[in-house]
Symmetry: C2
Subunit: 335 residues, 2 copies
Amino acid sequence: MVTRAEVACRAGVSVGTVSNVINKKAFVKPEYVERVKRAIEELNYVPDFNAKSLARRRNNHIGIALFEMTNPYHAEVIQWLEKYAAERDYMVTTFLLDNNTDKKYEVICERRLDALVNFMTNDLPRNFIETLKSQQTVLVNFNPQDSFVVVNDYSQSMLECMRLLRDYGHKKVAYLSSIDSLRYKADKRGEMFLLKRGEFGFDCADDLIFCNDDYMLHSEEIGYRLCGKLLSCHPDVTAIFCMNDLVAFGAMRKINESGLSCPHDVSVLGCDDIALGEYFNPPLTTMSFDKMKHGASIAKKIIEKIENSECPYETIVVGSELKLRGSVAKCKYER
Amino acid sequence: MVTRAEVACRAGVSVGTVSNVINKKAFVKPEYVERVKRAIEELNYVPDFNAKSLARRRNNHIGIALFEMTNPYHAEVIQWLEKYAAERDYMVTTFLLDNNTDKKYEVICERRLDALVNFMTNDLPRNFIETLKSQQTVLVNFNPQDSFVVVNDYSQSMLECMRLLRDYGHKKVAYLSSIDSLRYKADKRGEMFLLKRGEFGFDCADDLIFCNDDYMLHSEEIGYRLCGKLLSCHPDVTAIFCMNDLVAFGAMRKINESGLSCPHDVSVLGCDDIALGEYFNPPLTTMSFDKMKHGASIAKKIIEKIENSECPYETIVVGSELKLRGSVAKCKYER
DNA sequence: CTGAAAGCGCTTACAG
DNA sequence: CTGAAAGCGCTTACAG
């Protein structure tokens, strides 16, 4: 492994000067720049980012806390986040917090991340968060007072969906949530549904809303199970909101297996607009937001704050958009 | 940020002794152990893994080079790899090499990864690989002589599939490959199809095999486009092998849009057994292997070699398994 | 068994 | 503008 000292030696300058030409932080006599560059080339020198991190007390490392790695929705957002970050020399790594979590909390703290983005649905332990704060880690999606918060405002699209279902004559409309009953209402989608369903003429029975309390299940499985329960107590349901696209896929599977058809018997709506939704049969109606903008703007805010801790934390609201596709149709009783 | 020196001071011992109790490498008088532990607790001390890495010249960091982050197949394998690695204090980070690749090659080298797993379909530059080798990075899925290689042996399942299609009376069978025509034959699936299709009584027309040369497309889109071409020159095709499940989803979408039905008109087979396949309509027939075993065994080999560079590189062969589901049916001309 | 000290490969004031 | 040197927070022979 060739080090900076060897480069300096070969170029006939000091280590500090080599640093200066590599980091372009100070003016260096062109002749030296030339010599250093040549030495780097000849020795095939690669700087050690680790050593740099230690000296600068900054890692250029962004972490992402995730519960399910197989949800393409997160993968898409992360992809854009990573792209933006990578162009600015930041590395992003994803930490799967679905098992052995205590150990992973430790690891995350030991790695001295510059920032951590929280894409979990469940809460993270208080002392873990405190440690991160004491390390000056820039936080995203924790408490609004000490982190950036990105909220996807689904209220408009949700209203649009509800209007659509009403116009299509649906009355018996259910809601399948992949999170538990407490959090369910905190979510804009759930809140809106609960608040407005009477107004839109939908059946207001409590057991048309299903929540999930088993944290270990993946979304598809949640949708599949909840839809099973739903169909057994409300076989005449004609439309189902699902909290995300994977839940919707699970619901559609159960519908098919029950000998019903989507959208002929039951319309299904998802959320997130993952790329595969369009490939389903029927293509999934869903609502979403600009994932590129979402990912990139998280990265942008993070980097701004890392490089200038004076930047205030703020809440970013991202508007949503409805994608109407084949999985929604007129209520069969109206045709 | 509290450092090891402060812990040592508070515990009334030296820095080295603190290291010894943390790393459990040497015997320390129980009384000291107690005092050090208390000091750590009281000061809320968190070791700095970065500094540790610099001193040990090892990072406990495994990288994964990936082209598409949205393929759940890789996500699943990586998830198991990560789980195994995390339990042994290794961090794994995924590098998306779909754009700005030169910069990312640099970043990867600068981060001094202990290992790099290659999940790309296209080749990586020679000098990048050379640099990694000179850094003693443990390699997976590069050249067999200087890396571990994990091959999924699909030959048995592929034969099983072909036998099945023959028994179901299919004659006009196509193959959609997400990689280019050169690599196509190097893959066990493609090789087997090409070699045996005559023997199974399938039509041997060259234009029943479609390859993809546009590296920027995602698998679903590749399947969709190739299937479009296929249907326009062979509208009477009755079965399609797809190189992976996403390609199959794309093909199924095109089939539906063309007014045909899967499996009534055309049977479709995928590969990888991604979780969503079962949720499709119809559920996708596919072949796969044990992803947990696959991911964990990569991690195991890597860690063994990192911790003992004497371990020889080897090739690991993983057998495959057929999952027969609704997307395959008897040829309609035989019913 | 424990402590003092050198070393890991960088950055960054500070003199000159 | 450049070099010498201290420092980042650890590990690890080596004395004692």
